[in-house]
Structure formats: C-alpha cells, structure tokens
Subunit: 323 residues, 2 copies
C-alpha cells in the first residue's frame, strides 16, 4: 500500500524547479522547496508570482494557493515528509547523483522521486539508491506551468507500480505523461530538439543564415504545424490521399541527399512498414480527409492567434503606433 | 521596366501546385494550370473546392473567384501569357530541369518563374535557361493556402531586381517571404525538418519508440513552442534572465553528448558570439521579460485551441460521446 500524494517537495529552484512549483501549487498541493543558492527563496517567490496569472487563466484547483509554498535551505527538512519529490539541480551528472542520493536517504522509503534531467538515463541516476524502485526521470518542458508534456522514464530498478503511480500523478496535474519504454540519452523529445538545434548551429556556423533567419524559416512553415501534429503525422498528411506511403516514395530518395548534416538510417522494408503502419494506427478512426480538415481548421485559427504574438509583428505594431 | 503581375500560371497540380492555385485565386489573380496526368483537372477543381472555405475565412481579395481558374494540358498554352509561373512537378532533378527549360522557352522573357523544389539549388535549375535572371526557388509549406512561409532563393544568375519583385509578389499574397542569401541543398527550413525527420526515423528504426510516441514527445512540449519562437529564441528564453548566454553555459557541454545521431559543430568563440548577438538582435526592443510575457500569453491561448484539435483529444471526445 502506498499513500496518496499530499505533500510535494521541490529540490532546485531554477527556471524548471520554479515552473514545477507553480504547477504543483495550482493543483492545490502543499509544496516545500529547497535550494542552496544565495537569494533563491526570493527569486522563487518572484517567479511564482509572475507565473500565477497564467495558471489562474488555465484554471486553479480548489484550495490552490501561493500561500501553501514554504522554503528551507535544508534538504533533509525539505524532503523528509514529502510524498513526491522533484529534483531540478543543474545538468551535471555528479551533482545530480549526489543530490538524488541525499534525497533517497532522507525521504520516506515509498515517496516517489522524479528528476527533471534533460538527458541522463534513470538507471544511472538510481544506481546507488537505497530504494531505487521509486525513482523515475520526469522530464518537463519550459514553461512547466503551461506546457503539458512530461516524459516519464523508468530505470532498470523502477517498479511498474511506481511508474504507473507517477503517470497518474502527472495526469492529475493535467499533463500528458508519456512513458518512455527505452532508456536513451536525451530520452525522446530532447533528441529531436537537439537534432534541430545542432542543425541550426551548423547553418549559423557556416554563415548560411543568421539566427533570426533560421528561426523565421522554421516558425512560419513547419513550426506552426508542429503545435498540432508531429514529424510523422505531418508527413503522412503531406502525402495527400496516399499518406505516408506516397511520401516515402516521393521523399525517400532525399534521405540519401545532403539535406542535413545528419546521416539517415537505411529505409529498409521493416522501417517502411513501421512508419506507414504507425501513422495509420495513430490516425485512429479519422480518415485522411478528417485529418486534413482538422489540420486546416486548426491552422486557420492559429493564423489569427500567432499574428498577435509573433515578435516581428509586435515590433511592426509598435512602429505603426509610434508613427 | 517590368509589367505588373496579372496572370499566373501553375505547372504541376499535385498537393503543392493545387495549394498555390488556391492562394493565387484567393488574392484575385487569373490562374491557368497545367499537368499531364490523367484526371489532373478534375482533382485540381476538387482540391480548390475543398480548400476554399479556409481562404474565405482568412479573407478573400476583391474580385477573387474560383471561376478565374482554367486548365490546359498544353504547357506552352499555359505559360505563354503568364506574368508569373510557379513550377511544382515531382522532386526529380532531371524532370524539373526539363519542365523548367520548357517554361523558360515558352514564356514571356520577363515573366518571373518560381520553383517549389524542396531541396534543389536554383543555380542548377536555371543553368540552361535562355533567360535565367528571372528565376528563383520559391519553396512554400503545406498547406500552401494557409501557411505563410515561402523561402525565396535566388540563383547565381538571378538579378536582385527579380528577387525583389518575387519577394514583393509573395508579400502581396500575405506570405512571409524569406530571402535565402546562400544556396544550399534543402535551403534552410528543409534542413531543419529533415534533421528532425531523420532523427525520428532513427528512433523508430532502433525500436526506441513508435511513430505515435515520437509525435507525442514532440508536439505537447517543443512543438507548441515552435509555432511562435524558433530554435534560437526558444533557447534564449529557456535561459531565464541570462538568456542564450546562460543556455550555452548550461547546455553547451551537451553538444558533445550522444543526444542525437547528429554531430554538432565546435562551439567556438565566433559561433558563441553569432548565436548570442543574433538572439539579442532578434529580440529587438523587447526585454527578456517582455518576450517571456508574450510567450506565456500566447501559450495559454494556444492551450485552449490545441485541445480542440489534437487528434488524441478528438478520439477521447468521441469515446465520451459514444459511452
């Protein structure tokens, strides 16, 4: 029997830690935070204050209050009574190892422990735990109090029961909890983000384009689509009635071309089948034309929205007002 | 002196060609289209019919009408009186070369010619033109009648005047015309999309995750952000008050780690400066906290919107209704 989660502790109060704090508070949890840095407590309160209007707009749980947040500079004090503990110290493996082992030692043995690590594998982080079975990577996205994704990665010693508990807890926070079944460095999302990031750096490094041009080249076309459909379903839809089957025929040969610095895998029959049947599965009972209609309706409404918020358009508005 | 653009021709009426047709018609142009495929005319009219409600919603120009579209199976006939010609035949270099040379030969010598090629360089495509100075790559994004980006890439023989004319024409179509100053295979946007695509294929190929899991890992976190800010400004913002300077300190070392199959460039002082000053430049007169506020307000409104259109949530809605 494991207890219901009532008290939450947050270890490390940078951008990500403070984002978690706001999300936990918005859902009505008591939160205790700790961070050894000078001025951390003040910065934390300021960050929660600034993000509060957005969680209010998204909807607070009954009883949710900024007043239910406390701070201590003592890690043991912070974690000893918590039912759930989220670690967010800087992305330095030795430091994470040490802090997580401290958390493991000082917390209740059945408290769930999550780490916000961007890329370190959970089996490495839990390797020296006394109670490793209650540890998962729980990797969120900035701003944590708005964006729904959390990648939940169990390590070799994590029990299925605890992975399920973590998933249920995050779903209770209105998050999309994606269980990552295989540990790899960078989990899944960061591998994609990192590929995009490295390609962007190559383009700037070689003087092809500025950071601004790279950003514009991405946002106004592909970027808008990716708020709704991922890399696979986007290509499935770009194939017209033939879907991914047609796309792979049309753009499969491009995998051999130097369209990125990244060398592609061989498009084997097995990979072809996985990709095509994957896209068909994820379309569920929506036909190609349902998906198409859904995308168009979304994008038309998104066009309205983004034009209010694209920084470039905002500068234009300012100029117009000033003239 | 070059004439004003009044008549537009579209060569190749697949998904992209038909998308262009709808966008041209919505802006009030006369459009003549050609495609040698059996049934192309009928498919074209059906495609325009289906996309029309969306351009109506985005706003039609005065006089815009679907009736102003004609079709011929004769390429010469299609292009001979056009002021602007957009080519969209399949992505096969020999075929594109041949069709573009036909267009060059049969069109008015000062008609602008654009190619929708995803990745072939304009200098190669215009190499055997009689009048190469009026040719640009004009690479749009699907669905062309909604998404605003067009990458305009001049070749070695393209004049600046014609590049500027093309830019002005596309901006007149309410598009974001990004001049790509350096030719590379895949231009800019497709290099980024292709890096993401190849990394996604590696993940599926190695059995790490399904296409659906990859899509979910991307959409619900990073994907939502990319509708507003690109790879650079996103990281600039993730750095808190320190912006990109802090991010490169925190995640620079990750460039050496196997977080993607793509090897990163060396983070030299020069690259560091380009990236930091680039982000600062593109922020314009918006402070870090302006950018942050702008992002949060956008994302809160986007959360409302996406939940109506994510396919997964739609399936859930259906289930709920059915139960």
């Amino acid at each position: 029997m494991t207890a219901e989660i009532k008290k939450v502790a947050v270890v490390g109060t940078g951008v990500i830690g403070n984002g978690w704090i706001t999300r936990f508070l918005a859902k009505g949890y008591d939160v205790i935070a700790t961070d050894p840095a000078e001025g951390a407590e003040e910065r934390m309160h300021k960050a929660v204050e600034q993000s509060w209007p957005y969680v209010e707009e998204l909807g607070l749980a009954e009883g949710a209050s900024k007043e239910r947040l406390t701070f201590t500079d003592n890690l043991e004090e912070a974690v000893k009574e918590a039912d759930f503990i989220q670690e967010n110290v800087p992305e330095v493996e030795d430091l994470k190892q040490k802090v997580l082992q401290d958390i493991d030692r000082h917390s209740k043995p059945d408290a769930l422990i999550g780490s916000s690590t961007s890329g370190i594998m959970p089996s490495e982080l839990q390797a020296h735990f006394e109670n490793p079975e209650r540890f998962v990577v729980a990797h969120p996205f900035h701003p944590v109090y708005i964006l729904p994704l959390v990648e939940v990665v169990p390590g070799k010693s994590t029990t299925k029961e605890n992975t399920d508990r973590a998933k249920a807890f995050f779903e209770g926070l209105n998050m999309k909890a994606l269980i990552v079944r295989n540990e790899i460095e960078g989990h899944i999302a960061d591998r994609l983000i990192e590929a995009l990031w490295r390609e962007s750096l190559h383009i700037v490094n070689e003087g092809i384009a500025t950071t601004e041009e790279v950003d514009q080249a991405f946002i106004y076309g592909a970027g808008m689509r990716y708020a709704q459909y991922g890399p696979f379903l986007t290509f499935h839809l770009a194939g017209g009635e033939g879907g991914m089957r047609h796309m792979l025929k049309q753009f499969g040969p491009a995998l051999k071309k130097p369209w990125t610095k990244l060398v592609a895998p061989e498009l084997s029959d097995e990979l072809y089948d996985k990709v095509v049947s994957g896209c068909e599965h994820q379309s569920g009972d929506m036909s190609m034309s349902d998906l198409d209609k859904n995308r168009n309706e979304f994008l038309v409404r998104l066009m309205d929205l983004v034009q209010e918020y694209w920084p470039e358009d905002q500068s234009k508005k300012k100029e117009t007002t000033e003239v």
